[in-house]
Amino acid sequence: MTRLTPTRAWAATILFAAFAILPMITQALGDSYLIVIATRILAYAIAALALDLILGYGGMVSFGHAAYLGIGAYAVAILGRAGITDLGAHMLAAIAVAAVFALITGAISLRTRGIYFIMITLAFAQMGYFFFVSLSAYGGDDGVTLNARSTVFGQPLLENNTALYYTALALLIGLYLLAVAITRSRFGRVLTGARENPLRMQAIGFSPFRYQLTAYVISGCMASIAGVMLANQASYVSPSYMDWHRSGELVVMVVFGGIGNLLGAVAGATIALLLEEWLALLTRHWPILFGLILVLVVLYSRDGLSGFFRSDRS
């Protein structure tokens, strides 16, 4: 179901090309705030992509993916304070910690199904949230402001907003291609099979648990990279990255864009964040409108907004 059809390849090219020329447009408009929003969108797109990998292809509704955003963000803050400022080191640390966290919590959560899985992933993310809230050395509830962004080869290149934007875009494109490769591989097919019919997969000799756990760990690691980007974008890290509302928003993004077609997650993140920004301009109480839209979309459109973006599938 995830053949990189010509249509999809074209759609991906157009979407990413649009992102690539965006800084030139914002420069022409002289609006420097747009690039900040766009960087946030790219970071969330990475996280939504990661979530879609397990939600769309593995059928695992994780309601705790914000935990990985937090892990990535705190990797930047904690290593930065220790004097290690290299972006590569930050990402490696984020990925390593995310992998361990995902391996442990995933192994426990995947023993269960359905509602249990949703609630347990949510609970584990909340555990991470409280861990960082009580970590008073890093500001506890208030969080901590970063002294500087991550460095690349010892150079403070990312202090430039446009450079940070392109770094995020490069990461997003790289991870998108990786995700497409994963879903097209034998591994991805087993994962989809395990979603469709775990019993039958077991009967033909695959252990769904192992494949699902591996996918869960990969997804967590990818989402932690989004956390690294978010921390750099805001130059600020706090437990609010792990708030369960954030996890919910990630699920919303994936659904808005269309479940199980990777590119949709990128589009969904863009739509959801732009909608938020726009509604926030209209009223201080924008969550009421956002929530209303969400409820109506779920109630009145069986495929969510995805129907509009998924003309090539029934």
Binding site: I108, T112, M119, M127, V133, G248, I288, G291, I293
Partner: protein, 305 residues
């Protein structure tokens, strides 16, 4: 030390009872309707806010509480008839999203109506005293009233579910929904009743804690996630499990926060123990959940996975 322990034990039981009131409605909805309701926590919050308003309107906490019960029942009815009813046969993902949308609407709506600043309900005069515990230690009457009210509710639920016709239908609905419907029970009506009743229990919990906790827009969320932990530990659909799970979570959380650092001090130096205790204590209930799930994936009283 013993009296401090007793004090924290009572606090833990009181917290557990509170969690039970919320988890009971949630577990029934989960177990019977296979429905994920993230909006249950905000109903608890609405209960607390309504208690604030009704108490200041009538000038009496008792009357305020009495008015809150039918009001939250009504809230439950409205939510069920307008939104939830359409979601029962949808995938869990849709249920999660729609109820998440409701959480956003209600949490923000509450701030529009009552403001973002924390509110409080004055403690009713009659129940504002304290009773002597061991020695000089005293315990507030109102917290004992919360414990008593929760225990009475638990007893009532036990009797209704175990020994009445509607309870029988409810249990039957939990084990085989289709069969019960085929035998002529209006399952839709049953769902509505259970749902509204669960909302009332949550509202009751919110109104009960309004005099002892601050009423703020974030109060529902912390409790919601702990109620999930309770249900996962107790086993989905089991009210008995919810009761055991709630007491366990209440006790572990409360005792862990107060005695964790003290216990750690026995094996660590004081400063490190204090820090580690503060970090570990809020995580204890989740670790407890992980351990129980590792041993019994369907929870303590859960029948099936």
């Amino acid at each position: 030390m013993t009296s401090l322990f007793l004090l924290q034990l009572l606090n833990g039981v009181q917290f557990g009872i509170l969690l039970f009131l919320i988890a009971a409605g949630l577990t029934l909805v989960f177990g019977i309707m296979d429905f994920v309701n993230l909006a249950h926590g905000v109903v608890y919050m609405i209960g607390a806010y309504l208690a604030v308003t009704f108490t200041s309107m009538t000038g009496s906490y008792g009357l305020g509480l009495l008015l809150t019960l039918p009001a939250t029942l009504l809230v439950g009815l409205v939510l069920e008839l307008s939104v939830f009813r359409r979601l029962y046969d949808r995938p869990h993902l849709d249920q999660v999203l729609a109820t998440f949308g409701l959480v956003m609407i209600i949490t923000e709506g509450v701030q529009v109506i009552w403001g973002a600043a924390p509110l409080s309900v004055p403690m009713p005069e009659l129940l504002s005293g304290s009773v002597p515990l061991i020695g000089a230690m005293r315990y507030p009457v109102f917290r004992l009233v919360i414990i008593a009210a929760g225990l009475l509710t638990a007893l009532g639920l036990y009797l209704v579910i175990g020994h009445t016709r509607i309870g029988m239908r409810l249990r039957a609905g939990a084990s085989n929904r289709a069969m019960v419907a085929a035998l002529g029970v209006d399952i839709g009506k049953l769902f509505t009743v259970i749902f509204a009743f669960g909302a009332m229990l949550a509202g009751f919990a919110g109104a009960m804690v309004a005099p002892v906790l601050t009423v703020d827009p974030g109060m529902g969320e912390q409790v919601l996630i702990l109620a999930f932990v309770v249900i996962v530990i107790g086993g989905i659909g089991s009210v008995r499990g919810a009761f055991a799970g709630a007491l366990l979570v209440g006790l572990v959380d409360t005792l862990g926060r107060s005695f964790g650092p003290i216990l750690l001090r026995a094996v660590m130096e004081p400063a490190a123990a204090g820090q580690a205790g503060r970090v570990l204590a809020p995580m204890l209930v989740y670790i407890l959940m992980a351990v129980i799930l590792a041993v019994r994936p369907s929870g303590l009283f859960g029948a099936k996975t």
